[in-house]
């Protein structure tokens, strides 16, 4: 043990003698480990953000969407968007047992230009039932959400997301103001609380209107773009999914499941798919970064081989004075491990800083996990062993007399 500490101190002294060379040798490892950590933590961060976003959309959620329908091999109308109607939503709510499903939310959404005074923005306008807010756990920052009365009386009201509110009204309180969606003028009755989302389906950047208003007055359509169903518990999700499927097949007078003109996605399906995709991406990125690590390792091997050649006389002397093979191997192996380990530590710091900076600038989350740090340290030490072994063995196998004579 003492011997090991001594060898480590000695190796450290040897490595600090030629700082420039040592620095350049570990640079490859620093970059390799750094990029692996950066990419993995950004990858994991994105995965987590997406998963959180999906989960924040509601729990135990099943989404029924229209799909293109095939009629005896003849493709149905493209877009297939018209197969779901409010009748379907009502059937699900009334004909399925309360032990399976809790709430049903028919939805119609479309992107549209929304104007308020001089400001305008392009957002998702979504026609909803009050259940939408309950299922999606929407809370109000100001005012109230769409009520049953609004839906029944087709009132011209709207609830807007906080991002939309800022875009259209700046710092002014939007409650009571009017916005123009298409040809219709709507009164703002509420602003939702921020959910902190980003991207295309950002719940913070939406305009909610009563479903009837959206369908009849704004867009002039009578189909639904989706029906969200909240199952009573996680355990009955699959059962509920099947029940909805059979019910809708019957409602649509279809016989075989392959003819279905709708799809039912559970939130778990979505989560799994997303996790799979982001997981693959993270692995791929990590793999690319690992190549730079390999190149770094080869650099270490190269520098160790040069060191062994340079110090041939020293090795001969050490053997003459009684150093055994394993002592020489240990000496050079520890030197290379020290190189790669130091590189690993610097690489880790570099990786963490880089992922923090990138996540700040690009506004994506990063997760620095203990496992990736341990991985970095472990992998870098392993590289030291793998790429240091050959040079160390080469040193140990030198014959003392040949080594002493070496000029």
């Amino acid at each position: 043990m003492n011997d090991l500490i001594e060898t480590i101190i000695e190796s450290f002294q040897t490595l600090t003698l030629n700082k420039m060379r040592t620095g350049l040798a570990i640079l490859g490892i620093v970059i390799g480990i750094g990029s692996v950590i950066t990419l993995i933590s950004l990858g994991q961060g994105s995965t987590q953000t997406i998963e959180n976003q999906i989960q924040s959309l509601g729990s135990n959620l099943l989404t029924v969407s229209p799909s293109r329908q095939n009629d005896r091999g003849i493709a149905g109308q493209s877009g297939g968007g018209n197969s779901l109607t409010i009748t379907d939503a009502k059937a699900i709510e009334s004909k399925l047992p309360k032990t399976l499903i809790n709430k049903v939310s028919p939805e119609f959404s479309s992107r549209s230009q929304v104007v308020a005074g001089r400001n305008n923005t392009n957002v998702s306008v979504i026609g909803v039932y009050p259940t939408y807010g309950e299922i999606r756990k929407i809370t109000m920052d100001k005012g109230v959400f769409i009520s049953s009365h609004d839906v029944l009386s087709m009132t011209k009201v709207a609830v807007i997301g906080p991002t939309t509110a800022t875009d259209l009204f700046g710092e002014i309180n939007p409650i009571g103001k009017t916005i123009k969606v298409g040809s219709q003028t709507l009164k703002v009755i509420g602003v939702t609380t921020s959910k902190g989302g980003t991207g295309f389906n950002n719940p913070d950047d939406m305009v909610y209107v009563p479903l009837s208003t959206a369908q009849k007055q704004i867009f002039g359509r009578d189909n639904l773009s989706s029906i969200a169903v909240e199952a009573t518990s996680k355990e009955v999700m699959i059962q509920a999914q099947d029940a909805i499927g059979y019910l809708l097949l019957k409602e649509h007078k279809l016989n075989i499941p392959t003819d279905a003109d709708f799809t039912i996605m559970s939130q778990n399906d979505l989560l799994n798919t997303v996790s799979q995709v982001t997981g693959t991406l993270t692995t791929l990125l990590g793999g690319i970064a690992a190549i730079s690590l390999l190149v770094g390792g080869i650099g270490i091997m190269n520098i160790m081989l040069v060191t062994v050649t340079e110090r041939t006389r020293e090795i001969g002397l050490r053997k003459a004075l009684g150093a055994k093979k394993k002592t020489i191997i240990a000496q050079f192996l520890i030197e290379s491990i020290l190189l790669t380990f130091t590189g690993g530590v610097f690489g880790m710091v570099f990786g963490i800083l880089a992922s923090l900076i990138i996540s700040k600038i690009m506004n994506i989350a990063s997760v620095i996990s203990i496992s990736s740090i341990l991985l970095a340290i472990g992998v870098s030490s392993l590289i030291g062993i793998v790429f240091g072994l050959y040079p160390a063995r080469k040193a140990a196998n030198l014959q003392p007399i040949e080594a002493l004579r070496y000029e």
């Binding site: 006389r313 009684g322 002493l404």
Partner: protein, 224 residues
């Protein structure tokens, strides 16, 4: 103690064969002070390397303390070099960028002597060679004579039975050479076996026995 039996060493470089030692036999007893003399190329350095188990003869046997050296493994040889033989090389061969005391401590490290004891002993040996004020000087900060004395202290570090010195005065001034010879005489009186290679007759005259070598053969073996 040392028994060399019909040793031949042939170096082959391509087709050319050079005979460095030609069927040489001799014995050296414990406590002897032997000088091996001969012109350059006579094979004396080769002989010293074989005696120090740094090299192997092509033919013939070498017994050290009754042990057949040709049967030793590489690590066993290293162990014997460490414990029984003290080397003093012509070119000093100190570790560069390393202090005098660390150089002397090195062989003890390979024998797993605890660090405190190593330090204490190394200090003592550096005092013997008169370098107590130079313990922490790097080897390249020392003069040739001082470096040679560090090398002697290192050779003594493990209290070896045999001290092998290759031209110990070859690279130092004559005043310092005398000093080194005094150290050798003192060590021999304390019971160390000393084998010294030289081509200078007045250096060899300090020994009690001189083996003259020419063309790989013993030309003359005289007791003084």
């Amino acid at each position: 103690m040392i028994k060399v039996l019909k040793q031949t060493k042939i170096y082959s470089v391509g087709e050319v064969q050079t005979i460095a030692l030609d069927n040489i036999s001799f014995e050296i007893k414990k406590g002897e002070y032997v000088a091996i003399m001969g012109p350059s190329g006579s094979g004396k350095s080769t002989l010293m390397h074989i005696l120090g188990i740094l090299d192997m003869p092509t033919r013939g046997e070498y017994f050290l303390d009754g042990q057949r050296v040709s049967q030793l493994t590489e690590d066993e040889s290293a162990d014997i070099r460490n414990k029984k033989i003290g080397f003093i090389f012509q070119a000093f061969n100190l570790l560069p960028r390393t202090t005098a005391i660390q150089n002397v401590m090195l062989p003890m490290r390979y024998a797993n002597v605890p660090i405190a004891k190593r330090f204490e002993k190394a200090k003592k040996f550096l005092e013997i060679v008169g370098l107590e004020n130079r313990l922490d000087h790097n080897s390249n900060q020392l003069s040739g004579g001082q470096q040679q004395r560090v090398a002697i202290a290192r050779g003594l570090a493990m209290d070896p039975a045999i001290l092998l010195a290759d031209e110990p005065t070859g690279n130092i001034a004559s005043a310092q050479a005398e000093e080194v010879m005094n150290i050798f005489t003192k060590l021999n009186k304390e019971g160390h076996t000393i084998i010294m290679i030289t081509h200078e007759p007045d250096i060899a005259s300090h020994a009690k026995r001189i083996i003259h070598i020419r063309d790989g053969r013993i030309e003359k073996d005289e007791k003084l």
